[in-house]
Amino acid sequence: MSEIIELSFSQLAAAYVFVIVLIVIVKAKGIPREKDILLASVRMTLQLMLTGYVLVLVFENPHPAITLLAILLMQTFAVFNIYKRIKSPLSTAMKQIIAFAMISGTALSLFFFILVVIRLNPWYHPQYFIPLGGMIIGNSMTGIALGASNLVDGIHKQRHIIEGSLMLGATPQEAVRSLANGAFDAAILPTINSMLGMGIVFLPGMMTGQILSGVSPTTAIEYQIAIMLGIAGSVTLTVFLMVHLGAKSFFNQQKQLTL
């Protein structure tokens, strides 16, 4: 069986039975979540439909400017999403560093992946560029949000230790070293864990998607390995840039902690 099963309207509608089951259960248990479930289902449906139509349009009219615009939109969304996820107050400098680390780190990883690993021709082919870009940007976004939360919270909580270290003659880098390493570690851990469990605990989305669309599992696995390595590289690069520059931004020229 290699041809793709096209889902008809009634088949897709049947999948909404799951949502109805969920709503019945929360209602029966008295958990006030029906509205959220309904809203999430409707939003997901509309957002994906819209994305589907936009992607059809983009795939039918491949153009480097459109591909780059799509990536830029994803980046912008990701950066604002990171700001929203961090509960501690963010300085302007820290916001700029997050945006810089996110955009430069993912762009570098994505172009390396597209040009050197996949060797896409033409390089802006949206069918590859956009989904691969989405995976790299999405995972890096999660990494940076985790790392920045840990870094900013940690510096606020450990202010006395950092200042005490400076008073003992530590450089700012040394004073925040263990904290910055902890933030980096927390940020890359989900990627490492997902690599550890991949193929055994769960089958990753991209691979599953490719298999469902008729691609041979061995090809799907090759792509999955490559994209996982690409994601690991991008998460590492973006988080490293954010932690390195972010930690510095908490100190002024007099090497004083500024909070």
Partner: protein, 213 residues
């Protein structure tokens, strides 16, 4: 050693003219919130004044690299810090931060004896009492043998007997090695018993006390 002129900071501190002599002990007393800790932090550039000039060894403080300055002018904060790791690592961390060579366990043990901390080097310091943590923090800065020691309430958690013993050992240490000590203390009696220079802070300004040796 330090000269402060027309210093102003956040409307709380105003120091028209103050000299802190080298190779001596200077005690600073005064009401809490009166600017004593802030004065110490001005001397090691942990704070920068809004106006005025500070010189150290005749040179403006800004001409020193802040990190290099803090390796010569070492400050022990009021809240006794405990870093992750054993007592040994906690004692050595000042030397590590200031990129100075480490010392042997024997040296560490004699320092612990000096600050009257009767514990083993491998112990976890997070379980120490407040007074023991304070003595650990003291041992850490004394091991660094800096030119200037800035101690902020170094004996606030010690009982009277231990306070008197530890303070007398610190003053011996400073005199024998020709170092400079600037110490904030809550106790005027303690400041007077040490017999060095004595400055008291009132409403954010220093008043030299008569009778300083």
């Amino acid at each position: 050693m330090f000269q402060l002129k027309n210093i102003r900071l956040h409307k709380i501190l105003h120091i028209p003219d103050l000299i802190i002599e080298g190779n001596r002990i200077t005690c600073i007393t005064g009401e809490s919130g009166g600017g004593k800790t802030t004065l110490l932090k001005l001397l090691n550039r942990m704070k920068t004044p809004d106006a005025g000039t500070i010189t150290y060894l005749g040179q403006p403080l800004e001409s020193y690299d802040p990190v290099q300055l803090r390796r010569q002018v070492v400050m022990m904060a009021q809240d006794s810090l405990v870093f992750p790791g054993s007592i040994r690592e906690n004692l050595l961390i000042g030397l590590r931060f200031s990129e100075k060579p480490g010392v042997s366990d024997d040296v560490l043990k004699s320092m612990m004896e000096m600050v009257k901390l009767r514990k083993t080097l491998d112990e976890d310091p997070s379980n120490l009492s407040g007074g023991e943590k304070q003595r650990l923090a003291l041992g850490r800065v004394l091991l660094m043998y800096p030119e200037v020691l800035l101690l902020d309430e170094p004996s606030s958690s010690l009982d009277e007997e231990t306070e008197s013993l530890v303070i007398s050992r610190i003053t011996d240490y400073v005199h024998k090695r020709g170092k400079t000590l600037v110490m904030v203390t809550h106790s005027k009696a303690l400041a007077e018993s040490i017999g060095g220079d004595h400055i008291t802070f009132e409403n954010g300004s220093p008043k030299p006390m008569p009778g300083g040796a």
